[in-house]
């Protein structure tokens, strides 16, 4: 299939899952027009892109980086600051994009080149340190970023909730600015993921996989692994920044906790491992599972916790408290890394091969 | 005389690469067996496999009758095997003394034996308390060998000890190994230097493409120029 760059799901169940997810996302404004479902749907789109870009690094080059949220944040903040400072206009969005994307790419380039000079073993630690420093910096430069409070802003008129494009009388449901924003985000997300599929299935992508398997051999074969890794870093960072831009446009708000916090990084890790590293599709599955669970499972946990507390059981109320859902996800994460390193996608694919 | 070390049908895979493709060899006790062959033939891999540093994927390795192909490296060393790797692997941050202390596993350093070693390698006495990293290449090689013989070993596995060394040091090494031979040690020696091989070897094994392609007495190889030329094609260096 040309559009999937010759990288089909390779498992009927997986294909069905993906089609269902995409179809539901496509139909959300019509089927579930409430605020919460729309938020969940957008979050799935945005994180599918973000996690897919991380998969390029983790799954295809075998590099662990903790700086990914930084690039996401750069995209968000660039567009937010532009819309805040320049007023709600398409020019502002354009400016944000023109500043944010190259900035993310240059920073990725700098980190990539710097880490070449130092022992490879330090890379993950360095990215962690840089991302932490960036987060602190963003809080400190409150004149620019709004500090801890972040920035709230408005969108150009066409994208505002108040703008009615097609009124309720025509089809029975309203198409307004919010709906348009939704479909814009959805369309861009789909395009970005298809683009990533193209990248990983290109000759470049195959070299990345060769590097992941055995870096020394790749070098011996004459590939300048330096360039390939740096290039991959830059692509991943740029796509992450795009995801950040989309997120900012939907939330109409940006702040350290929504765009830069370490918990976002952990969420990304969880999604990519649970979904399946090195598959791109894993990002979609992982994001879907994770975000739905995050929003709806926590309510379940809350009920269970209260029930346990009422029953007078020790420890359980604390362990089942909805705020502790990261604990269970962490355990799932460890189990996934160890028992299912290929994630859901890998499992589905293997099941198909086993049966066929 | 019996064989101290035997390999039967040994295969070793490193990742995807099938390096040893069915190695059969025997190292007679009390003799020095030379392992010759060109680069990439699998000589170092053979030594490492015997030592347990790379696991054999198939086959049997017996030391004194005991099977060791599944044993761990420390256990193999404790059976009395000494290993001198191609890279010498001296501990640069430790002193010469500390390097040798590590070689003397459970016991302390035997003064008499140390004196005997210093007889061959006087530099080691001179640099006793210096960092091993400060030694020259030749001195490091001496240290590496000294560390392997600081206590008597049943079997010595030595990988290209003369590589890159000055002729005078090579001579000192050969003298030392001859003396160790005299004391009854069994040695499996990988060498590219044909002169050293001829001086020391009793039996010769030639390796190519992960298997043994020739085995026989060293005397025979030393006489037979045609044979040498055929095997020279496998790049054995003739030195003066």
């Amino acid at each position: 299939m040309m559009i999937l760059s010759g990288d089909p799901p390779r498992s009927r169940l997986l294909a069905v899952l993906l089609i269902v997810i995409v179809a539901l996302l496509l139909a959300t404004p019509w089927l579930f027009p409430g605020a919460k479902p729309m938020n969940v749907a957008v979050k799935i789109c945005v994180f599918a892109v973000l996690v897919a870009s991380y998969d390029l690094l983790l799954g295809y080059t075998g590099t662990v980086s903790f700086a990914h949220t930084m690039f996401y944040g750069i995209g968000s903040y660039a567009v937010a600051i532009a819309l805040y400072g320049m007023g709600p206009s398409w020019a502002a969005i354009g400016t944000g994009i023109v500043i944010g994307l190259p900035l993310a790419m240059l920073l990725a380039l700098a980190i990539g080149l710097f880490s070449l000079r130092v022992a490879a073993i330090f890379f993950a630690m360095i990215t962690l340190a840089v991302a932490s420093a960036f987060q602190v910096l963003a809080s400190q430069l409150s004149w620019l970023t709004g500090g801890e409070d972040g920035r709230t802003f408005r969108l150009p008129e066409l994208l505002r909730p108040g703008t009615v494009v097609v009124s309720k009388d025509a089809f029975g449901f309203e198409i307004n600015g919010r709906t348009l924003t939704y479909y814009l985000i959805f369309a861009v997300s789909v395009l970005l993921i298809l683009a990533l599929l193209r990248v990983v299935n290109s000759p470049f992508g195959r070299v990345l996989q060769a590097i992941r398997e055995n870096r020394f051999r790749a070098e011996a074969l004459g590939y300048r692994t330096v360039f390939h890794l740096t290039y991959a870093n830059c692509i991943a960072a740029t796509v992450a920044a795009c995801a950040g831009i989309l997120n900012a446009i939907w939330l109409r708000y940006v702040g350290p906790d929504t765009s830069l916090s370490f918990s976002i990084m952990l969420d990304i890790l969880l999604m990519v491992v649970i979904g399946g590293m090195g598959t791109i599709y894993g990002a979609i599955i992982g994001a879907g599972i994770f975000i739905i669970a995050q929003n709806y499972l926590q309510t379940l946990m809350g009920t269970a916790s209260t029930a346990a507390a009422d029953a007078g059981l020790p420890l359980l109320p604390g362990l089942l408290h909805p705020d502790r859902w990261l604990l269970w996800l962490g355990l799932l994460f460890i189990a996934s890394v160890y028992f299912f390193p290929t994630g859901v996608v890998g499992r589905l694919r293997r099941a198909k091969e086993g049966a066929g | 005389m019996s064989d101290l070390l035997t390999l039967a049908g040994v295969h070793t895979h490193i990742g995807r690469y099938h390096i040893l493709q069915g190695v059969d060899l025997a190292v007679p006790e009390g003799q020095t067996t030379m392992l010759l062959g060109r680069n990439g033939a699998g000589k170092t891999t053979t030594l490492r496999t015997i030592m347990g540093l790379w696991p054999a994927s198939r086959g049997e390795i017996r030391l004194g009758g005991e099977r060791i192909e599944a044993s761990t490296t420390p256990d193999i060393a404790r059976l009395g095997v000494g290993y001198v790797p191609e890279s010498m692997a001296v501990f640069s941050d430790l002193t010469v003394r500390e390097n040798l202390v590590l070689g003397a596993r459970d016991g302390d350093l035997d003064e008499a034996r140390l004196d005997w070693i210093f007889g061959f390698f006087p530099a080691l006495r001179r640099f006793w308390l210096s960092r091993a990293g400060a030694l020259s290449g030749g001195q490091k090689q001496m240290l590496s060998i000294a560390r392997a013989i600081v206590e008597p070993r049943k079997l010595l596995l030595i990988d290209e000890p003369t590589k890159g060394l000055a002729p005078a040091i090579v001579m000192a090494l050969i003298e030392c190994l001859k003396e160790i031979k005299r004391r009854g040690a069994t040695i499996l020696l990988v060498e590219q230097n044909f002169h050293a091989a001829r001086e020391l070897g009793d039996t010769v094994l030639v390796m190519d493409n992960g298997t043994i392609v020739h085995r026989g007495p060293m005397a025979e190889l030393a006489e037979d120029v045609a044979l040498q030329e055929r095997l020279l094609g496998l790049s054995l260096e003739t030195h003066q």
Partner: protein, 337 residues
């Protein structure tokens, strides 16, 4: 039989690499004119030394584990946090003794708290090594992922067991206050921290340099394979080193908790970054480098925080970049990797 190549050479003097040792002193002196007042400078210096020692204690285990075992433990911060929380188990019930103005009763709280914290974190280290690290030994990627997962689970467990609120842990009464030297006040607790750090440093150096175990560790950091080829079962030693490293992190956590007079799981995250920077700056497997790195990082944090508050963590990143540009493997790179 002479060794002709070296017969006329004199004994080579071990070339000691002193340059990094001078760095902390040089930095401190550089700060004097920038800070201006001598008494502020002295206070900041004391704060730096104390903080540096605490960070050194936390980082020393990590650099040995990292250098010796080639293990990337991203969950190291968990040991720090757990140590602090366990200390509260002793401090809170014995608050009376802690607040009594008697050194003896204070120590009767302090010492058991520290010992318990170190014991628990050592056991936790055993668990982590067997469950998270051993199964994926040699696979860096999975190690990073597993240990990061471990960090999440540990932190969340702390919140589940103790609740998400900050737990106060006031300093024992006799450790409050300062020693006064003319114009300068040096907090008593800071002096204690410096002493403990120094003791740990000396103890580690003694073990590393005067014992056979230390010999094995130093050799193993350089070339693990060769140590095994000499007949030593060094993998068992690894576990021991890991447990010692974890318990040291636990001790650091107790000290940090008392320093801030509060305990919260987030200190794990906060300090993990600083500890990583110290380990990177110092060079894998080098205790001396770790010591110097910790002093530098603490100084940059304190003096930098005083001079340019906005830059905070960024200044430590700049320090790391500067040192890595000078020595890409850290101040004293010991391992052969």
């Amino acid at each position: 039989m002479t060794d002709t190549a070296t017969s006329s050479e004199a004994l080579p003097k071990p070339k000691r690499d002193f340059l990094p040792v001078l760095l902390p002193a040089a930095f401190a002196l550089l700060m004097l004119p920038l800070v201006g007042s001598a008494s502020s400078w002295a206070t900041l210096l004391a704060a730096s030394l104390a903080m540096g020692m605490m960070i050194f204690i936390m980082a020393s285990g990590l650099t040995l584990v990292f250098g010796l075992m080639d293990v990337l433990n991203f969950g190291h911060g968990a040991f720090i946090a757990v140590g602090a929380y366990v200390a509260t188990l002793v401090f809170l019930p014995l608050a009376g003794w802690s607040q009594a103005d008697s050194l003896a009763s204070n120590l009767a709280v302090l010492v058991p708290a520290a010992v318990l914290a170190m014991g628990v974190t050592a056991l936790l280290g055993l668990l982590v090594e067997r469950v998270l690290i051993l199964p994926v030994y040699g696979q860096h990627l999975k190690q990073i992922l597993m240990t990061t997962g471990g960090l999440i689970v540990a932190e969340q467990s702390l919140y589940a067991l103790w609740g998400p609120q900050i737990i106060p842990m006031p300093l024992p009464a006799s450790l409050r206050g300062s020693f006064i030297f003319g114009d300068v006040a040096v907090a008593k607790y800071r002096v204690l921290a410096m002493l403990i750090g120094l003791v740990v440093f000396i103890a580690i150096q003694l073990v590393l340099n005067r014992t056979k175990i230390g010999l094995l560790i130093r050799a193993g950091v350089e070339n693990r394979e060769m140590v095994e080829a000499l007949g030593y079962r060094i993998r068992r030693l690894f576990l021991g080193v890991f447990m010692v490293g974890s318990s040291l992190a636990g001790l650091g956590g107790v000290m940090w908790g008392l320093y801030r007079e509060q305990v919260h799981a987030s200190i794990g995250d906060e300090l993990t970054v600083l500890v990583f920077i110290v380990v990177i700056i110092g060079g894998l497997g080098s205790i001396g480098g770790c010591f110097i790195g910790a002093l530098l990082v603490a100084m940059v944090a304190n003096f930098g925080g005083f001079l340019v508050p906005k830059l905070a963590l960024v200044s430590n990143i700049l320090l790391m970049v500067a040192i890595l540009m000078w020595r890409p493997r850290g101040l004293y790179a010991v391992t052969s990797r």
